[in-house]
Subunit: 346 residues, 2 copies
């Protein structure tokens, strides 16, 4: 499990000096009916959000999530200097169309399902260096838009194998400020690590967990090695959407690397749906999965001091339907941020 | 031409402390036959770069461009701490597959044809703050891959209207270092401005110039207003790929805003092909256009002191074929960097 460039590991952990002062999560019907349903800010009963196409609905989710997060922050759109956003749709149109009304300088990101943490990391770097007084991060995915883009329109009723995951309908938004200027109850972003693109020969587009687990292992072993920490040093190690399959691979191979995760690992894709009643096979996935679970589930727990120190690592599979049809294996990337409870609670 | 958030303009120019120490441009056959043909590092006579699909050829162009730029920098892949890359292909597979062998921590960007300057701006911010000792920026586009994704496969022989542009087959790569640690002949990146997403009702996917010009105007007027500069203060104001149509709109509307560009404006999309002999209609476009022309044409002139101070502003149309089919107008974004000749030449 060693790749080129390991000699650089020491300097690949970024100390960050940022804090998440507000966040919002907007989800679809199925997500609202899941185990975390009561924690999300907003859901729509038909997943359309008042729009006439699924793609427009995704943009509308991003707009509402950002709008809510800005409201919670009390900063107003004019107080946000930078917006970092991305999604899974071709040419990231969920983000491009979602934020037109805000007029905030915009940096588009593409990291597949790792985009939320890619955005948090970059936003934290930039606000921590005084390059923005506040930055917003927004990502999204929509099940019906993703299904017809990556697989088949939902009307087709395609069968899904047990390793397949269910793309989350949801958008999460975060407002990031410099740690020393954010409200006292802000969740701190204290470290980050940029992932490397890793490809281990997985070609099954219905088994994203297996494709993404090697990227998670690469980032997590590099982080543990460089920081001298191990799983026991954290309340939780949260992955974005490895699902049941990818989580099992992660835990097994991390143990083989000498880093047992024990009971510290959890996965947003496993938390968001009830496996017994919601028929999602290996769990949730999508650009919105890690974003809404982090925003609605983990941040409040950190803010209340119920957890003090967690790693959040979003994983993205960087293939397209074209690359899969052309027989290419699936590369993946995993970005990591370390979140801590507000200092008063620490 | 005023949008929300104008009161923030003053702080939206980023002072940068970075330099481009090496760059490389890899292009296709048509580009090698154009007016700048002799300036590119490498071209392939059949645009395939040894691959069996256009998409794989695009990844291979990115790989070769990065490899060449790293060679020129003398840093080795292990000396590059961060890679920022993007392209036009669905899910940015040009970038995801192009850099697997390097093992460099990877931040995926999506800004359509603005991605090269988005990357230069972010890389310059990060190296200038000491967050990377060197960062690479790579973008690409491939005419045959773009045609079949956005319009029709080239075998179809679709007719193109006069306002249509020709997607450049090419990939540009840049190595960015902190200004005070880069070689003496490095081109300085002294300022940057992040664009806002602007949409002015253009729905014609065969007239990208018209869709992108308003974004260029937004960024350039904000830059001039905030910096107190005007066109005469620069040797050139370079846009990425507005083409003939978008360039005319830019010059006309900037003049109406009180900022005449006079003879200082040029456009990479107009420089790269010969309009009389190469039948490209309104000019070149694509994620690779601004990248290869900047890397091969403008950086050497700055390095030799033939120019001292230029603005490079890449413009991106943020639509997708789906958003166009759904009747949505075309939003665009334009990011700006200010490049200066090496200090010794200034």
């Amino acid at each position: 499990m060693r790749w080129k460039g390991d000699e650089l590991m020491e300097r690949q952990i970024y100390p960050l000096n940022a804090a998440i002062c507000a966040a919002a999560a907007v989800v679809g019907k199925k997500e609202s009916e899941g185990p975390l349903g009561g924690e999300f800010d907003l859901h729509d009963v038909d997943d359309r959000f008042g729009q006439d196409t699924w793609e427009k609905a995704e943009s509308e989710m991003q707009r509402r999530a950002l709008s809510l997060a800005i409201d919670k922050s009390g900063l107003g759109a004019e107080g946000i200097d930078l917006l970092l956003a991305g999604d899974l749709l071709n040419q990231c149109i969920g983000s491009a169309y979602g934020h037109l009304e805000f007029g905030i300088p915009f940096l588009g990101l593409y990291g597949a399902c790792s985009t939320s943490v890619e955005g948090l990391l970059l936003a934290s770097l930039l606000v921590g260096e005084g390059r923005a007084s506040a930055a917003a991060v927004v990502t999204s995915s929509h099940n019906c838009a993703a299904e017809r883009q990556y697989r088949f329109p939902i009307e087709y009723g395609g069968q899904r194998p047990p390793t397949a995951q269910w793309t989350v309908t949801g958008s999460g938004a975060f407002i990031v400020m410099p740690a020393d200027r954010s409200p006292a109850d802000s969740v701190l972003v204290v470290e980050g690590m940029v992932g490397r693109v890793v490809e281990k020969g997985i070609r099954d587009a219905n088994n994203m967990g297996a494709a993404m687990a090697p990227a998670a292992i690469d980032t997590l072993t590099r982080y543990f090695d460089a920081s001298g920490t191990c799983a026991e040093d954290f309340d939780l190690i949260v992955t974005g959407d490895l699902g049941r399959e990818g989580s099992a691979i992660l835990c097994e191979l991390m143990a083989a690397e000498g880093f047992s995760l024990g009971d510290r690992h959890t996965d947003c894709g496993r938390l968001i749906y009830d496996p017994l009643t919601q028929d999602v096979h290996a769990g949730g996935s999508g650009c919105g999965c890690c974003a809404v679970v982090t925003a609605a589930h983990f941040l409040p727990r950190l803010r209340r001091g119920e957890m003090r120190d967690i790693l959040v690592m979003a994983t993205g599979a960087m293939m397209s339907p074209d690359s899969v049809k052309q027989g290419q294996p699936i590369p993946a990337v995993a970005h990591l941020v370390r979140l801590q409870a507000p200092r008063g609670e620490n």
